[in-house]
């Protein structure tokens, strides 16, 4: 079962533009993570934000978390062609930190 739902499901932008992806989830969480997946490969962790945090930055990435709305957003600034990939949000919840993924956003950055 999928916990999160990303929006949009697909996004196409020009190189240099910013890309924003949103994630909504259904139940209480301990943390929320974002992962990137290049076609046919495993996932790579990008950033983690805990439930008591509201915003976090890492390089060109900015993540926000609104637990009252059960939503998060990932902003990639100054996008590059190499950012072309699928992006997934994942929630960590429960005593055993079950990590549940959303359906993903497919990002295409056009050079």
């Amino acid at each position: 079962s999928q916990q999160g739902e990303e929006d949009p499901q697909a996004l196409s932008i020009q190189e240099g533009e910013n890309a924003t992806m949103n994630c909504s989830y259904k139940t209480s969480i301990n943390n929320l993570q974002w992962y990137r997946q290049n076609s046919g490969r495993g996932l790579v962790h990008l950033i983690l934000i805990r439930s008591n945090e509201r915003e976090k930055h890492s390089g060109r990435l900015r993540v926000t978390l609104d637990t009252s709305k059960k939503s998060s957003s990932l902003l990639i600034t100054a996008s590059r062609a190499a950012d072309t990939a699928s992006y997934f949000c994942a929630t960590g919840a429960g005593g055993y930190q079950k990590v549940t993924f959303g359906i993903g956003t497919k990002l295409q950055v056009i050079p």
């Binding site: 046919g40 996932l43 962790h45 983690l48 997934f88 055993y96 549940t100 993924f101």
Partner: protein
């Protein structure tokens, strides 16, 4: 940099045959996850181990799937018998400890059931 090892990279099998996937997590990682990812969808958790114990297998189709991590290190996921709907990418991931830490993924095993 240490990686999660998975084999085989690709597996083609016929319906009703048995298949097995192997995963070796990063050394020292106590938590191990098996996910199934159907093309165009997000990974779905099949089973989660803490050391050698299963802590979540609620989404594992136990009539045909089994998983073990006997010594709390490497792990095997088995499907018997395979069905057409099992065609997917099977991903293994590990994390240093239970709770709040990022997952490290292997490259996955792409299964095609004919």
């Amino acid at each position: 940099e240490a990686e999660v090892a998975q084999s085989p990279r690709y597996k083609i099998t016929e319906k009703s045959q048995a298949v097995a996937f192997w995963c070796d997590p990063i050394s020292g990682h106590a938590t191990l996850y098996w996910y199934r990812q159907i093309l165009g969808q997000g990974p779905e958790l099949l089973v989660q181990f803490q050391d050698e114990s299963v802590v979540d297998d609620s989404q594992l189709p136990k009539d045909r799937f089994s998983a073990e991590r006997l010594k709390g290190v490497d792990s095997t996921l088995k499907i018997q018998p395979a069905e057409l709907g099992d065609s997917a990418m099977y991903l293994c991931a590990s994390s240093l400890r239970l709770g709040g830490e990022k997952l490290f993924f292997g490259s996955g095993t792409q299964l095609s059931v004919l």
